[in-house]
């Protein structure tokens, strides 16, 4: 029994209550408190992570309390490597997002003083943010599947309100679409969760005890489907992706970062942990269709991204392409690919986060998300342009930046995967490598149209990034470059738990290629 995770989950929600109860008109204070709380959470997480033994038990900092005996539900938390890095990702992103959306609720003014979004309740926004943080930690930490589900669904609500009341013009359409899409998947998953409970007949939802509990392949397939559809919608995987561009484009930049950076990861995380380990046979049986879907996502997302005229939608579509890579890695049944996928979840969080925030700062200056409204920003705001460029390069996974390592691992692992010796995965890897070219096109073309060329008239008034904005982007860029050259710290934590997973699926995990499979 370790108190760490419950404490981590408690801190933000307590902060949220405090923020919500602050007296009227204490907006500034609310922001400061939020920032403080999120930083505190970050520090605590850091301290906890320092005590994590990569090659120790699968789940560490375990805590279990009885919650709903009648349903056999425990409040069970604990982290393995993958969960740990994802929690770390969340708690790193939150303070950054807080800082980034400092003025989002005050009513955003453009450079020429026109109001884009009206003034809204600051306290609500930031307490929602903190509540969301608790849930993000909880969803990754939960070892009880019921608890996981509870967070999985409950997370939607704060995000729904953040999009719906703080977003852009189409916000309510986007918010509803987001909520209903996710709810629908969630409901199917609920059926699967209940079914799992009864079919396993273990009278518990604790993940470790349920691993290998379902033997009958047919049952496995049905339950797998229930879980997978929910996760595929969350991830999002083609063809159930269309909610993401709307949600991400309408959400305030900060919320969009958490949405794409963390919430969607719950989908891929769920595939990695639950779909694979609980239903190994089904996972193997469905590998091919899923690989096909993910390859489609990769290419399709990239192509559609090229055709976007709205920056945030463009970034959203690039994410769809990247999630294709993650899913591909998860289901490639290869140690390298899966470690790559897990690493990708983190890196993508940083890269896309930086890109969304930079784009957000750009949009805040002009009040329009449309690429065509910009041009020649580099001349007036070189810093902004510089950060935008680095974030963009991370988005096209330039070697030397963190996302390259993960993308490389996913592709090379998939290529070399012996699963379905047919070499279909080899083909998949080659096709997905085409995205390397497409990525260059969509990112650089966007940069060319926004940053380069003669400076557009309304852009001339732009101010360069202020200190706050630099403090938002600098840490992300530092992480992107740092992990680009030295991903070892993350991989050392990830690899053991990936090995665990694949052992449960009973797939060879070695990072040493099976020689000669590429003939």
């Amino acid at each position: 029994m370790s108190p760490w995770l419950p404490i981590l989950m408690a801190v933000p929600v307590v902060g949220a209550i405090v923020v919500a109860l602050l007296p009227k008109g204490s907006d500034k204070l609310a922001k400061q408190v939020t920032l403080l709380v999120s930083l505190l959470t970050l520090v605590l997480t850091g301290v906890m992570a320092a005590g994590f033994k990569p090659n120790g038990d699968r789940f560490q900092f375990v805590a279990e309390y009885n919650w709903i005996p009648s349903f056999g539900v425990k409040f069970g938390v604990g982290v393995d490597g993958v969960a740990l890095v994802l929690i770390a990702l969340s708690v790193v992103l939150v303070p950054i997002v807080v800082l980034a959306s400092w003025h989002d609720a005050d009513g955003v003014k453009t450079a020429d003083g026109t109001l884009i979004t009206p003034k809204r309740s600051v306290k609500t926004y930031f307490s929602l943010l903190l509540v969301l943080e608790t849930m993000m930690i909880g969803v990754f930490a939960a070892t009880d599947i019921f608890l996981f589900y509870v967070f999985f669904e409950a997370m939607l609500i704060p995000m729904y309100f953040m999009i719906g009341s703080y977003g852009g013009a189409q916000r309510s359409y986007a918010a509803v679409k987001f909520l209903l899409y996710s709810l629908f998947g969630g409901m199917l998953m609920l059926v699967a969760v209940i079914g799992l409970y009864f079919v396993a007949g273990k009278q518990t939802f604790m993940f470790p005890e349920l691993v290998g509990a379902i033997q009958d392949p047919v049952t496995q397939k049905w339950l797998f489907a229930g879980f997978f559809i929910a996760f595929a919608i969350k991830a999002p995987l083609w063809p159930v992706h269309t909610w993401l561009p709307d949600a991400a484009a309408q959400a305030p930049a900060g919320a969009a970062v958490l949405l794409v950076g963390v919430l969607d990861k719950v989908g891929t995380f769920g595939m990695l942990r639950f779909c694979l380990e609980l239903f190994p046979d089904a996972a193997k049986a469905f590998t091919m269709p899923i690989v096909v879907l993910s390859v489609i996502s990769i290419i399709y997302g990239a192509i559609v991204a090229i055709g976007q005229t709205d920056m945030k939608r463009l970034i959203a579509y690039t994410s769809i392409s990247h999630f294709g890579f993650i899913v591909l890695g998860v289901f490639a049944m290869s140690g390298v690919a899966q470690s790559g996928a897990a690493l990708y979840m983190v890196n993508h969080g940083f890269a896309t986060g930086a890109l969304f925030l930079a784009a957000g700062f750009l949009i805040a200056r002009r009040g329009s998300p449309f690429i065509a409204d910009y041009g020649g920003v580099q001349k007036v705001a070189p810093l902004l342009a510089g950060f935008f460029l680095v974030a963009g390069l991370a988005g096209l996974s330039l070697p030397g930046l963190s996302s390259f390592v993960s993308e490389f691992m996913v592709m090379i692992g998939t290529y070399s995967s012996a699963a379905h010796g047919s070499g279909a995965l080899t083909v998949a890897a080659i096709i997905s490598a085409v995205a390397v070219i497409l990525a260059a096109v969509y990112i650089l073309w966007m940069i060319q149209r926004t940053m380069n060329g003669p400076t557009a008239e309304p852009v001339k008034a732009f101010k360069d990034l202020n200190a706050r904005e630099v403090w938002v982007l600098a840490p992300l860029v530092a992480l992107i470059i740092g992990f680009g050259f030295y991903p070892k710290p993350l991989l050392d934590v990830i690899n053991p738990s990936v090995q665990q997973t694949l052992t449960n699926v009973d797939v060879p995990t070695s990072t040493i290629a099976e020689k000669g499979t590429g003939q």
């Binding site: 709903i68 005996p69 009648s70 349903f71 009341s165 209940i194 079919v199």
Partner: protein
Amino acid sequence: MNPAIEAPTIEYGTLAPLLVIFGAACIGVLVEAFAPRYLRKSIQVPLTLLSLAGAFALVLVQVLRGQVSTTASAMGAIAVDGPSLFIWGVILILSFVCVLLINDEGHFVASAASVPGSADEEEAERHDNGTGHTEVYPLVLFAVGGMLLFPAAHDLLMMFVALEVMSLPLYLLCGLARRRRLLSQEASMKYFLLGAFSSAFFLYGTAMVYGFAGTVSLPGINQAMAAGNTLDPLLLIGFALLGVGLLFKIGAAPFQAWKPDVYQGAPTPITALMASGTLVAAVGAVLRVFWVGLGNLDWEWRPVIWGVAALTMIVGSILAITQTEIKRMLAYSSIAHTGFLLVGVMATYGSAQQNAESLKAILFYLAIYGIATVGAFAVLTLVRDPGGEAGHLSRWAGLGKRAPVLSGVFAFFLLAFAGIPLTSGFMGKYAIFSAALNSGTQPGDSIGGWMAGLVVVGVVASAVAAFFYVRVIVLMFFSEPAADGPAIAAPSMGTVAVIAVSLLVTVGVGLYPESVLGVANDAASSLFIR
């Protein structure tokens, strides 16, 4: 020379709650007859509340003493078993809360006899200052008495009587709205005619069953079935007609038609009472009839209920989408929830343990759904237009800006209805669905697949249903307020208490359902007396 008739044995202790309620009701009538007008309210309100509280206390005593009777009382006419006691408790709490709402000013007409807009209406209104008819209280008490009796009735005659005792006062109460009286009266008339119509079916069904079994006591019928041919058309027809009566009361499709109209027309506190108390009572009665009376017939009735449940969920959630009147929307949502409850009824089958499971689920669901419903209607009473409550959805636009707390609370209730985790609604939905799937995975249940199918229909329906709950939230929070938005009435202590209690329960059960589940579990574990 005929044998002496031995006096019937009545277990007064066990039946005490009933007696208290009915007694108080009669006293209330006397008060109406003899007390001067200005005193009536100040007598009726305490009387009503106290009697309800007292009855609840008596229920508690029985539970805590652990002397839950295992045999039917009053010569086998009434069965006060675990489930009954739980349902009684729930009904008493709900009606207590509803009375607090009723107690609030301006809901009830000054003189029902006066023609709307006529001089004597104004006259009457001038005399009573917003309190309205005090006959309301005894009527409510009678209705509550009927509700208590309905699920506890152990033979069909008693059930019929209870049905009427419950319904007749409600018919009247529906017609007593102070504002929009035309609607109110129309609701009252529709409810009455259709109610009478359906109860005639119920009665005819009783007759048929009696013809088959030679008795109307539920266990008797069951034994008769065990003995005789369960395919006797007499029995099947009789049962079908019984079903009509019962399903009409819980408002399952295709007998749901009255619900939206009546819920919309009736005074909101009464709507709350019907949506919570009546539903609870009726579902209790359904359970008893289907399980005690027709236990040996489930092979026949379950497929039929399957269809009814599916239809009800679908009709409820689909028709709700395009509603523009908030009370109407809630009516349809209550239809959808009836469907979910029927899914649970489906699951009361198989081993005793399994029965207890699903029974627990249903009881739990009834309790939390009832409370949340009352809370939601209580909020409704506070959002007022000059002409009364602001019923039309468009009037709710941007309410989140003008009354953030109230809208937040209402949004929370809606999320609970939608079954979002960390609300009681989710726990209820989970309980029902898991019970259903559990019975589906029972060894030897050949229609397990069907159960799974029904559950899938259920989740899809609730996904659809989520849409219109979300729609209201969108209206309240994401759209700009109208210039002449509705006013927020300063809530009375009673209303505040109602909302607070409902909210606390909804939140508390959402976070820690064990509290209520435990009780439901104890109640269910001692099954219906058979």
